[in-house]
């Protein structure tokens, strides 16, 4: 197993090496998914049945204690998946118990059933839902913030718009996943190890690719496109490593939401821990930027690179440190994101646009702006589900990005200067 981990680290630049490491996914076409709702947690013991479009039964499965189900299929094609609404726990209803699925060759196709539970939507008063969504948004926004600080600082110090930053998040989550699930290391220790690996990968990015490119005087637009190429390479290396499905960590599964503040909102223990840890890490980063020598140097280089260089700051060393910090933070954010939304090969890319939204909202190139902007984006995305369907919540976040660019392109905390 070790060679797989080593390969993953090395693969940052040599994507081809994956050929040597074994695939993590099982073979054959499958339908997989998870039944869960926010109040009940994962739902166990519900039968999921799959038929062909003609109605012939192909197979069924009962959800396990994590709410997961998995049904093997005879081949690629169109199928219909049902759940038995009568088996759902009391208070949980499904908008549609039937889903049409198209499964491609060799793919594990995920199926999601839209479940609604009484606690949200119908049962409680409106203030409670607002608060609930706000706290969920805060948790999500803090995750975006942790990952986005690196993105913003990298832009500030090098001018690079790094489209491969999402992959740093996904790689971090995956490294922690491999240490946690394959080696059986408890997630907290796995995370610490992964953060060290993440810092290494960030540093490797700078030393192996971006510093040589700067030396060659590669243009910023060219570097932007290079980062897109890197992002594609890394994303599909992860797909080969992880397979197409989503997988949870080995620890902290299936937690029930506990009531807080006299029962007006609920939160699982891991979500609460995620919020607290995010705040602690962000405060630590802020203190580092504010108080330590290297932190001040980072802000100085981000502010004005030439001036920083002429006042004796070793700019290359600062940039290397920024990359390592960015890699470590992206990894940590990736683990938290994987904890709430499971680990998937494309998780980083899904987060990337929201990271850009947060960074631009706060002011591209600033550390604190990225923090504030990201939290606003996270809260906005979650709160928007009060009025728009859940599946469209990211649309709200992306629209916010576009609106900000119209109204104040330099961002909330960015200098009020022309950026065009």
């Amino acid at each position: 197993m070790l060679h797989r981990l080593v390969a993953l680290v090395g693969l940052v630049f040599v994507g081809l090496l994956t050929v040597l490491s074994g695939p993590a996914s099982a073979e054959g076409e499958r339908i997989v998914g998870t039944l869960a709702s926010s109040a009940s947690g994962p739902i166990e013991g519900v039968t999921v049945t799959v038929t062909t479009t003609d109605g012939d039964e192909v197979g069924d499965d009962e959800t396990d204690e994590n709410g997961r189900f998995e049904i093997d299929l005879p081949g690629a094609g169109d199928y219909i998946a049902f759940i038995d609404a009568a088996e759902l726990p009391e208070g949980v209803t499904s908008a549609s118990t039937e889903r049409a699925v198209t499964v491609g060759t060799g793919r594990a196709q995920r199926v999601a059933f839209a479940l609604s539970d009484g606690s949200v939507g119908q049962g409680g008063g409106s203030t409670i839902i607002v608060l609930q969504r706000f706290v969920e948004g805060l948790r999500f926004g803090l995750i975006i913030a942790i990952t986005a600080i690196g993105l913003s600082l990298i832009f500030g110090t090098t001018g690079l718009t790094n489209f491969a930053h999402g992959e740093l998040v996904a790689i971090g989550a995956t490294v922690a996943f491999i240490i946690n699930v394959s080696f059986g290391v408890q997630l907290i220790w796995a995370t610490l190890l992964a953060v060290v690996v993440g810092a290494g990968i960030g540093g490797l990015n700078e030393l192996g690719l971006w510093r040589p490119l700067r030396r060659r005087r590669t243009g910023l637009i060219a570097m932007l496109v290079v980062s897109i190429g890197l992002s594609i390479v890394l994303r599909y290396v992860l797909l080969i490593q992880l397979g197409g499905g989503q997988q949870p960590y080995a620890d902290y599964r299936g937690q029930r939401a506990e009531p807080y503040l006299g029962g007006i909102m609920t939160l699982t223990d891991k979500d609460l821990a995620s919020i607290i840890l995010s705040v602690v890490v962000l405060i630590a980063v802020a203190l580092m930027l504010q108080r330590t020598k290297i932190g001040k140097a980072m802000r100085a280089v981000a502010d004005n690179r030439d001036l920083a260089a002429s006042s004796g700051i070793n700019v290359d060393r600062v940039i290397l440190f920024v990359w390592m910090l960015g890699g470590a933070l992206a990894t940590f954010g990736g683990v938290l994101y994987g904890l709430s939304d499971q680990v998937a090969w494309d998780m980083g890319f899904r987060l990337l646009l929201l990271m850009f939204a947060g960074v631009i909202l706060g002011g591209l190139g600033t550390a604190y702006g990225a923090l504030v902007g990201s939290v606003i984006v996270g809260v906005f995305v979650q709160m928007s589900t009060l009025v728009i369907p859940d599946e469209l919540k990211n649309v709200g976040g992306l629209l916010l990005l576009i609106i900000i660019l119209v109204v104040r392109p330099s961002g909330i905390l960015g200098a009020r200067e022309r950026v065009g």
Partner: protein, 333 residues
């Protein structure tokens, strides 16, 4: 290893309808990135609009094909205006982020349950190419053989229309770039302030380029949807835009025929590696054992190759095969 099959399959792909589709997308991007220096990463969104315009007008409203094409052009124009208005005054990378976000919004909306009655959700819309197929001068069900390379009648018809459109748009690009309009556009790319100092409305020129290139992309989407008779959101994800950029940069940006050469070479190489990997991994006893590389993993390798190719091109030969380095705008202003 069956070398003849690999070569004929690769050649078939190099001139197939899909290659024409990528050529059209890249022709649009050539106007944006090559001539105007605009970083449009939302070309997949333009193609999506084109595909769904024909699909929705013909299946939901029973309108003839030409209406669908007009709607596609109109939709692309509006989308370009919406994208351009906030961002064309800003730095290049802002346009990149906004266009990628806007294309993602379109994709999310099209596949959402809310829009399913119109767009068919994740399943998309199919069976709307009868009008198009009926125009073919030969039977679309027959198979045709050219020196061992086989195409179905339908593919051949889509290719004929597609490559004719490519030729037409190449001619248009060539004429435009020889005109005063094209010279101003290139001036904007080279030095925006200088163009402004000469009294040119830089913003307007950029907007016109964005709209025109977007329409090229939408026409590509129309063609692709008609060729495969489905409009399905998975086909128009961000990776489509990145592939189109690879095509453009491979052929050479700011060259009229760059995107065309790029599409043919790109698809030849892609099909070639796909076929070689397929031959290596297929069957019960593959040449490369399954515990080293499985057939489904082999298919994903194409994306890794494209990514590596894109990186290598930008680092070592940003002007592509036929381009001129001085003409490729690679620095943000």
């Amino acid at each position: 290893m069956d070398v003849v099959t690999i070569l004929t399959n690769s050649l078939q792909a190099a001139f197939g309808p899909l290659a024409a589709f990528y050529a059209l997308l890249a022709l649009g991007l050539n106007l944006h990135f090559g001539y105007a220096g605009l970083l449009n990463f939302g070309q997949a969104g333009f193609a999506l609009l084109g595909a769904y315009s024909v699909a929705v007008t013909s299946t939901r409203y029973d309108l003839p094909l030409w209406v669908g094409v007009l709607v596609a052009i109109l939709a692309a124009t509006i989308f370009a205006l919406l994208l351009g208005l906030p961002t064309l005054r800003l730095r290049a990378d802002y346009l990149a982020i906004v266009t990628i976000a806007a294309a993602e919004i379109l994709n999310l909306v099209v596949r959402s349950r809310v829009a399913t009655p119109v767009t068919g959700g994740t399943q998309g819309i199919s069976q709307f190419s009868q009008d198009f197929d009926a125009l073919a001068p030969w039977s679309t069900f027959e198979r045709f053989d050219f020196f061992g390379i086989r195409y179905s009648g339908k593919d051949l018809w889509a290719m004929t229309v597609g490559w004719s459109l490519v030729a037409l748009l190449c001619l248009l690009t060539w004429m435009l770039m020889r005109s005063p309009w094209g010279r101003v556009l290139k001036a904007v790319r080279e030095d925006e302030d200088a163009a402004r100092a000469l009294g040119k409305n830089v913003y307007l020129f950029k907007m016109q380029a964005l709209i025109l290139g977007g329409i090229f992309g939408a026409l590509g989407g129309v063609l692709y949807a008609l060729a495969v008779t489905t409009a399905q959101p998975d086909a128009y994800q961000t990776s489509l835009t990145f592939f189109a950029y690879t095509v453009l940069i491979l052929g050479g940006a700011a060259r009229v025929l760059g995107p065309v050469a790029g599409a043919i070479i790109f698809y030849f190489l892609l099909a070639f590696t796909d076929n070689v990997l397929f031959q290596l991994t297929r069957g019960r006893d593959p040449i490369v054992p399954a515990d080293i590389l499985t057939a489904s993993d082999a298919f994903q390798l194409r994306f890794i190759f494209v990514g590596l190719g894109l990186m290598a091109l930008l680092i070592f030969r940003p002007q592509g095969i036929f381009g001129d380095r001085r003409e490729v705008s690679l620095d943000a202003r």
